[in-house]
Homo-oligomer: 875 residues x 2
Amino acid sequence: MKYVYLFKEGNKDMRNLLGGKGANLAEMTSIGLPVPQGFTVTTEACCKYMEEDNLSPKIEKEILDKIEELEKITGKKFGDGKNPLLVSVRSGARDSMPGMLDTILNLGMNDEVCEEFAKQIGDERFVYDSYRRFISMYADVVMNFPKEDFLDLFDEIKKVKKVELDTELTGDDLKEIVQIYKRQYKKHAKREFPSDAREQLIEAVKAVFRSWNNSRAKTYRKLNNIPDSWGTAVNVQEMVYGNRGETSGTGVAFTRNPATGEKKLFGEYLINAQGEDVVAGIRTPEDISTLKKKMPECFQEFERICNILENHYHDMQDMEFTIENKKLYMLQTRNGKRTAKAAIKIAVDFVKEGLLTKEEALLKVDASSLEQLLHPTFIAKELEKRVSIAHGLAASPGAAVGKIYFHAEDLKKAKKEGEVDMILVRSETSPEDIEGMNIANGILTGRGGMTSHAAVVARGMGKCCVAGCSEIIIDEKTKKIKLADGTILKEGDYLSLDGGTGNVYQDAISLEEAKVTGDFATFMKWADEIRTLGVRVNADTEKDAMIAKKFGAEGIGLCRTEHMFFESKRIFHFRQMICAEDEKTRKKALAKILPYQRDDFYHLFKVMGKNSTTIRLLDPPLHEFLPKTHEEVNKLANSLKISFKELKERIESLKEFNPMMGHRGCRLDVTYPEIAKMQTRAIIEAAILLENEKIKVRPEIMIPLIGDVKELKYVKSMIVEEAEEIIKNNASKVKYKIGTMIELPRACLIADKLAMDAEFFSFGTNDLTQLTYGFSRDDSEKFLEEYYKKGILANSPFTSLDTEGVGQLVKLGVHLGKKTRKDISLGICGEHGGDPKTIGFCHEIGLSYVSCSPYRIPVARLAAAQASIKANQSK
Amino acid sequence: MKYVYLFKEGNKDMRNLLGGKGANLAEMTSIGLPVPQGFTVTTEACCKYMEEDNLSPKIEKEILDKIEELEKITGKKFGDGKNPLLVSVRSGARDSMPGMLDTILNLGMNDEVCEEFAKQIGDERFVYDSYRRFISMYADVVMNFPKEDFLDLFDEIKKVKKVELDTELTGDDLKEIVQIYKRQYKKHAKREFPSDAREQLIEAVKAVFRSWNNSRAKTYRKLNNIPDSWGTAVNVQEMVYGNRGETSGTGVAFTRNPATGEKKLFGEYLINAQGEDVVAGIRTPEDISTLKKKMPECFQEFERICNILENHYHDMQDMEFTIENKKLYMLQTRNGKRTAKAAIKIAVDFVKEGLLTKEEALLKVDASSLEQLLHPTFIAKELEKRVSIAHGLAASPGAAVGKIYFHAEDLKKAKKEGEVDMILVRSETSPEDIEGMNIANGILTGRGGMTSHAAVVARGMGKCCVAGCSEIIIDEKTKKIKLADGTILKEGDYLSLDGGTGNVYQDAISLEEAKVTGDFATFMKWADEIRTLGVRVNADTEKDAMIAKKFGAEGIGLCRTEHMFFESKRIFHFRQMICAEDEKTRKKALAKILPYQRDDFYHLFKVMGKNSTTIRLLDPPLHEFLPKTHEEVNKLANSLKISFKELKERIESLKEFNPMMGHRGCRLDVTYPEIAKMQTRAIIEAAILLENEKIKVRPEIMIPLIGDVKELKYVKSMIVEEAEEIIKNNASKVKYKIGTMIELPRACLIADKLAMDAEFFSFGTNDLTQLTYGFSRDDSEKFLEEYYKKGILANSPFTSLDTEGVGQLVKLGVHLGKKTRKDISLGICGEHGGDPKTIGFCHEIGLSYVSCSPYRIPVARLAAAQASIKANQSK
């Protein structure tokens, strides 16, 4: 077992062992780039150290052996004044954990080394400044002594010396400080500061290992789902100095512009400075392009290296470099983070430049990020100047600006009066708010999680939403928001929401429309060529269907007919239907709704044309639609010719303890067959209207919440009877399919039997997740917070499909369904349908298509292509 | 394909083809008993008839051929006056459907036949009475003419003839009536009454086939889960007459006493009568024993036949017989229905008599029926005289008598004042009522199904309950019940409930205590010898545990600790705990509860001794425990030193949309670890107390609602840490196990991983059924009614485990659990644990034990034995 690797012994594929930084330093070394040499103590050494609570003599010896080899490579001596080898000791985990772990610079210094070193380079000030920094870093990182004790001393000396700036201190001053620091160290440690470079090194390595378990690192890992067991590597590297005068410097750069993707070196640097100074922001760094004039050779060398790195890594690089006396050193390289826009341009350019195949290019872009491209965004420059006033869940991306309103009714009224930009603010939304949400630019709620009503509906509408913003107090009665600092906002005040970050800003921030460049189109074309999974949209309105078609949807995978009932004209009749005491009254009310529904379907079918349009029969529990206000109840009671009290009782009797598992879905069709019949009639008659216009459409009627074969047969026969009669009476040739949603665990278990009657399955993974986990979407976020905190769950199973549990049921359903009906069409229409990870799983288990909200269509197309590519690679 | 069988061509194993009656008539024929001969038209002929909507010429010919054969056998002629063959045409389905299908007697009569026949037997009155009955039956059954038209005519004639009784009519009168009937028939039919015997026969067979689909038969089949596809057979049998004078008679008898099991002929008969007369109850029948004196030869012959039948069928028989001129004919035999008490005595006696093996005897008794033996019952004689005033669901068996109270509080107060017999009447019950339910003799609710709170808790308590009695109006405010007929009952009035039938009676009916005879003990011993499945009890109190032990429980499979929190002393602290804003307050409240819980467990452990006692940690959503009245909230707010409003808000915030899938089970332990710790402490300290008394106990700590491996690990580690500390501090050797309930579909899917940490699984099939079907127990009965009506579901999946769906998840859980941990203990503790069908399934899939309510223990023991026997038989 080897625990320490010289840079020249490693390569980029050893990331798990050497950490990200170590692997890339090794890789750069191996391709001949100017990297200060050094070695990496592996992550395995870290694990062993933590396990044994001690650094084994074997590892210690390996480290010291490597120091000797490093001496040979550099021609310098460790702990020797003549030509001292000074090193940095830095952590480097598999995945970057910026700022979480510890670093020590200038290690190897002691009094003797410094004296000689200062003589040699003729810069006492520089050497003793480095020495004092080393001592305080060591005291902090290795010994855990309070930082302030050293900082305070430094400030005192400055007072004594009557200087303002660090730079005003002389070499002698700094020499004095070193001695004072050493005394302070001794006071804490009860022994002298270690002068032995080897002791310093071993202790520093151990300290960096220990920093893996400091509390901020632990929290970071939990938040980012990084296993505790990975451990960190430690990189020991020869020091180079960018602060050795006007021919030295340091900087960071990207090989291309990470915001736009433009092929042009992008970055900044400081002359006569160390890395810390760039970060600290005391001096304003210069644009990298100015280096060309200042040090043309260095700039040329840097451009050459950038080219080599891009050619080597086949990706845009994010680099750190230092120039010491005109010599350029590379300290770090990694694939650079970028905006979605840049990601696409870079991917397309790399293909054009012959650096990537189309497949490789498609894998380079994070599918989820595409959604950014489709929503309007805040103008970045404006946003920079702003501080958010509250933070909630980034429930539905996009940016929204508008006047706040607390009631859907008020918002509708304001619209009538000419208001354009509005934001709906509510404690939580309910189906009654849908119309208001539709008019609003964005939605802000005080309660509810990523899958709360507001969040789900907003994503469905492609509308910005910040949900569960619990820091503010929303009082709908007085129409006021109280911020954490006591500020009160009232109806009509402006607010800006960032649905991508969850930030809420006071007043209006300017927006810019999303632009879809030619590269985006090219890129999506490549995705479509490769993917085998179909992509449909969850859409209930003509508008959504049109947006989705623009984004590339190949049909409607889920039309939720219940959303169609909420318009004020319809809901009254719908309520009459629900509260009817007998079939006759019920049928009368349904007859009033029929023309509306037929019209809805007519328009959806017209947009989708020959693409399949899957219409789900009424699904939610009826009491969601019930009147709430006294006035509404009264009006309804009058229309039904029953007393207020009777109606109230009827409404009460419809309430359920657990509505999610109650009287809904196909259960409504079993108890009130006339609902399914009316909806069937609306669907078939709409198709016939289009048939008369010579437009052939493909309606698919989907029965929700099926749990038993006989239940499916019962509802299906009802639909077939109604449909066939209409078709016959109209001498029509309209064709339609009947299928079912698979959303109960039981449906997955008996899918072979269901497939005898169902021509297609659509997996409703929202409900399936609820029932498989026993998590109510509406309630679980509250306690799941604790699950995330304690590391029991990494993510909400409502965001990415739980492939270990829920996914196994889906897989079983697919397997059994295909066993009975080889060519059965299989889709997924839960919220998961737009999640790239889930889409990968869907491809794997052999679904025919995914269906998602309009703004997720490009995400799904790319994710589907990526799944195809990965599957082919692993063949 | 043969569609008609002579009796001598069939046997008892041909029940599916010949129907129950036909198969037994054939069997009796084959063993030489005196059976009027005839033939059976098969159920397949019925199916063919219904399919083709016509009787095929082939079947018609077969029937007429058999009539010829019957003529030969009987030496009589069909449709011939000289020596006429008269037949009965009766339905006979696979399973008896008493009174549902149609019958025609005296078929083969016409004017000519009757004239000759009357001459021959010298009894004109008898012959023409038979003829007129035949005509009216034929008109009714074959032609569907209104019965009243004929009855009215008959009454008119009687008026004209100025007679009161049918028997006062002379032969000539009846001759006249026949002619009048025939005219009436012609009026309806527009043709003469058919005089051709063969035509009569064919039409009668068709009519009986058609009666399979009459509405009352259809309803009966739905209620009894008999498939429509079975069809009925038709038996055509030579008529014999018990009404030919003083040496004729007819009766019904059992080979043994069906109420007590006593080995003594039991039954009654009427001299000079037909079957109808016995049923009609106009004359009082005589006890069968008197036949010994009246017709000693017949009696002796009957005893001989009874012996033959018992020896042949190895079971007690229920027979119909007719004596025609001193000749005994057997018309029917079948296994007799009996009480549980009789069933056991008969089974034990048959073994003693060498007629059955123990295994056969165990299979003869319906396991479910044993529950009857354990509850007090109404004195049968008293009950006979009573008419029920309402009918609800037979939710929990037993009989209860007491004064009615509408509030648990009132009931408790009455008890304090010395009241003993009380009945709690409520629209529905909630956990707040538990104490009241415990004191009451029985519970009557106006709403809720077989799995409503009242029903489940009552069954758990072994307490009589009639639930969902919607015919009455319960007004808790005015403390009154309004019956359907307008009668008002008020607090303090007596009521009697029969939880076995769902009947409700006004006033008190006397009760008798259940007696367990020696035979019962013997019988259960046999069951225990044979069964391999363990039987535990679901018990939360010392009292229940003791009852269960008496009934043979081998441990506690489920102790629901939440029930222990409802006592008024505890609930206050428990509420403090729930509503605490911080951990400190929460812990303080828990500390108050600890001594109570420890005491609970101490007593349970003491009863169970070395038998395992499985304690489930707190399971239900917390808001179930919250204070409801203004006074309660106020008191709690004071104790918590917060305002009324604050507490109200806190209570509101605990409410959930779907509490069944909300913050409950182990989720409470994740968010409030101190609850699990307190319960662990109570369990371990109780065990240590007993250890000090030298009593070794076996606590099993069960974590509910586990859905993820990490969740299990988290809660388990918490329990282990707490338990080990207590054990160490007490220098104890107490051993305990930790396991989990498997009640989420996801738990079944990942059972292999859960078994790494769980030492036992207990399948919570109540929740598993809820989630697999997506049926909320509290809400689903409402719409499931429609499912039963429409034949979509045969039974509630909460009664018998759904082996097709839910059972497959259980099976998977068992398979995966054993894969990881070979010797894992596997139980079931849902309501299903006491259902014989489910127990059979549990045996099949390899569970270790079932756990059920105390009064179900003997049921489970027998069902487990039966499952063993059946499994061995099919090997």
